[in-house]
Symmetry: C2
Subunit: 436 residues, 2 copies
């Protein structure tokens, strides 16, 4: 993609009203624009990140056996009356009257709707267990939206719902999602801490929040520092992570005898990016969902719900990965794999070399943002640092004279010269966006 | 994908209240479920179709140089006051008050918002021309929603907006979208007729609707029968299609001297699936969008908008492609490339052969829906016919004894026996979903 044909409104100034660094950087790097309080448009560069995050979330849900569907944003109030939540939900629910005066709402979550759909579609134990999910925009009318996409009103969420015949099945579904979440966050380049959450009506170990550690997090987490040493690639990591102590401050304060010795008790701030929760028959019983069991009797399925804040993750990743010059995207979610800076677009040799590099890298499956604009080198480098592409290739007349270009790694700042052929070999033909 | 782990609630009965065949078939084939009047959830099979349609639309927009972004569903009323449309729009607009009493609405279209974003992001002629698009849910509060997703209230639309410095540029953007639309519909397996529409304030040949010919269409189209003979693969096809006569009945009635001889004037019903429209400075002038020209003066950009009804297309394709047994998906949008029917899941040899075929076909990039359920063959074939996968492979003990399986083509009903190796070779390693 040539920057001269793209839409990338970057800014050097810290935008007014943006309190935290991810909000500032998302505005400055041209990822988003606010269109109303807590509501954002995703500009082309931002949408690429959002799509890549959603793809990773989707991939891990699919691998865990969950089935993707898509529920609408607007729901009838009657559904929520069936569960008793319509009156209970409070002013965060965006309530709407349609032209015929029917009470509707913009879904803040989908337990009621998915339960009704399952009730409508499934009759027999043969169709269980199932985990259904969708990635859809939600609305919560926050009284004071802030922190950009981290606490917006219209936000993109992955929410999954499990349906099981019995508690063993329910626990298996929960465990599958627990593991899928750890894989998801690891694939996003994040270290997520599963924090034991108050578990509601069922009790037991079946409610966790997943927090990204970052100084600007809204939550305070106490956890066993042994967590920091766990290798997420290890197959036993999920079980280890689940057994080690981690609590939000409020819950931690209630713990009479913390099992972690004081010198191993870490205290960090965290951003909640996921929440999984097993609630048994809460909605299925209230809404009359029953299926026929193998013995002919009727059973009320057990359910759980599993959420990931997809749009919030874009901000959380930036909170966890930036420096003074801008964003440092993990390769798995970077909007482009490489930046390509032409120092002299008016020089035909440079223009030709850059056009050739762009074409060949893209033919090799790499996405490239090619800065072909008439602008000073310093401005181009500052833009690349700000938008945080993992690798930046710089082409100028001096290097070209000896057949070399410069490759810079954004995360370390390390740079070196190499031939164009070495560059192409290094970013060889692989399907994913990972570098050699 | 194994059907025993999928969610596919098919039905033999014609659903009450579904008037047209696409609505009936989408419900019967387990593609959608209604959740409120004119509002639908997309079940896993339906979402796969919707995603494939959206991918083709996206690909052709990208190839035409349009940039994808994503605007939110909820808009502030103030934006629409700037264009003067807030009061004019009428009861189809879903108006919403938020918790602070601010007037909001669920976007029925995005001219105002994209103009405001462009005004906020772009200052110079160097950043024009641009075409921005998004694929996002819209809401129009139809007084009488009907025909399933064809005239729903919450619907998925691709809407693009062009910004140009002058009329030559505007015409070039319009032409690029015109051609992209023809390519899009052809890639979807549809024959779309571009119908000249009333052109509004600018005049000229810069407003077209695209109609799919189908007996259940809501519009009546008069057109030059020579249109039917145009080969869409021909590079000159767009220009030919644009010059040949085609009008909606209402506009046709106003034409004093129709240029088409009566014996060549065809009359068919059509489903509108796209609309492109150049409207000059209507929104840019009203909303104060100006950019600096090369000579330093300020210019009000010219705009056009370009819509495709993505969710409606799922219904329109079925209207154009079905038979008494069910849907006949074009290969480009089919939810799975192949169905795989195991006639005897209780027979270990059949089960093993089917598992192997599924794995190998998927390794070759084909998507497979594998009916591994304990059910009668007749029921399995009826389901495959109903859901309309392009190819169905049947595996049974008799064929396996001689090493063969049966391959059936849904569109023609033609079937023949072949070895598993021949089958795998026929659906060989190609990236796209087209058959050999």
């Amino acid at each position: 993609m040539r920057l001269s044909r793209y839409l990338l409104p970057v800014s050097r100034e810290t935008p007014a009203g943006a309190e935290i660094v991810s909000h500032q950087l998302m505005l400055r790097a041209g990822l988003i624009r606010q269109t109303a309080a807590g509501i954002y448009a995703w500009l082309p560069l931002g949408l690429r990140v959002l799509d890549r995050i959603a793809s990773i979330v989707r991939r891990e849900q699919d691998r865990a056996g969950a089935l993707e569907m898509l529920m609408p944003t607007i729901q009838p109030a009657d559904l929520w009356r069936q569960s008793g939540r319509y009156d209970a939900y409070g002013p965060e629910m965006l309530r709407i009257g349609d032209r015929h005066g029917r009470e509707m709402l913009y879904g803040p979550t989908n337990e009621e709707m998915v339960t009704a759909i399952f009730r409508d579609c499934v009759r027999s134990y043969r169709d269980l267990p199932r985990i259904l999910y969708h990635i859809q925009w939600k609305f919560r009318d926050e009284v004071r939206p802030r922190f950009g996409v981290m606490r917006g009103r219209e936000f993109l969420m992955k929410d999954a719902y499990s349906f099981d015949m019995d508690m063993d099945g329910g626990r298996a579904s929960y465990d599958a999602m627990f593991t899928a979440y750890l894989k998801t966050f690891a694939a996003l380049g994040l270290r997520a801490v599963p924090v034991r959450a108050p578990s509601g009506p069922i009790g037991g170990d079946l409610s966790h929040e997943f927090h990204i550690l970052a100084d600007t997090g809204e939550s305070e987490i106490f956890y066993d520092a042994a967590l920091d040493d766990i290798d997420l690639r290890d197959a036993a990591a999920p079980e280890r992570l689940r057994t080690l102590y981690a609590m939000e401050a409020e819950e931690h304060a209630k713990v009479a005898n913390c099992p972690v010795p004081p010198d191993r008790l870490a205290r960090r701030r965290g951003i909640e990016v996921g929440h999984i929760f097993f609630f048994g028959t809460k909605y299925s019983a209230a809404m009359g969902l029953e299926v026929q069991a193998a013995d002919g009797g009727m059973v009320t399925p057990l359910m759980g719900s599993y959420g990931i804040g997809v749009s919030r993750l874009a901000g959380a990743i930036i909170e966890a990965s930036h420096d003074e010059a801008g964003i440092i995207w993990p390769e798995s979610v970077a909007p482009f794999d490489l930046g390509l800076v032409n120092l002299r677009p008016d020089d035909p040799a440079c223009a030709e070399a850059c056009a050739g590099l762009e074409d060949r890298l893209e033919a090799q499956g790499r996405t490239v943002l090619h800065d072909d604009r008439e602008a000073r080198g310093g401005e181009k480098f500052a833009t690349m640092d700000l938008i945080g592409l993992p690798w930046v290739v710089t082409v100028g007349p001096r290097g070209l004279a000896t057949g070399t270009v410069e490759l810079k790694r954004r995360s370390t700042g390390e740079r070196h010269e190499l031939s164009m052929e070495s560059l192409l070999a290094r970013f060889g033909g692989v399907a994913s966006g990972t570098a050699a």
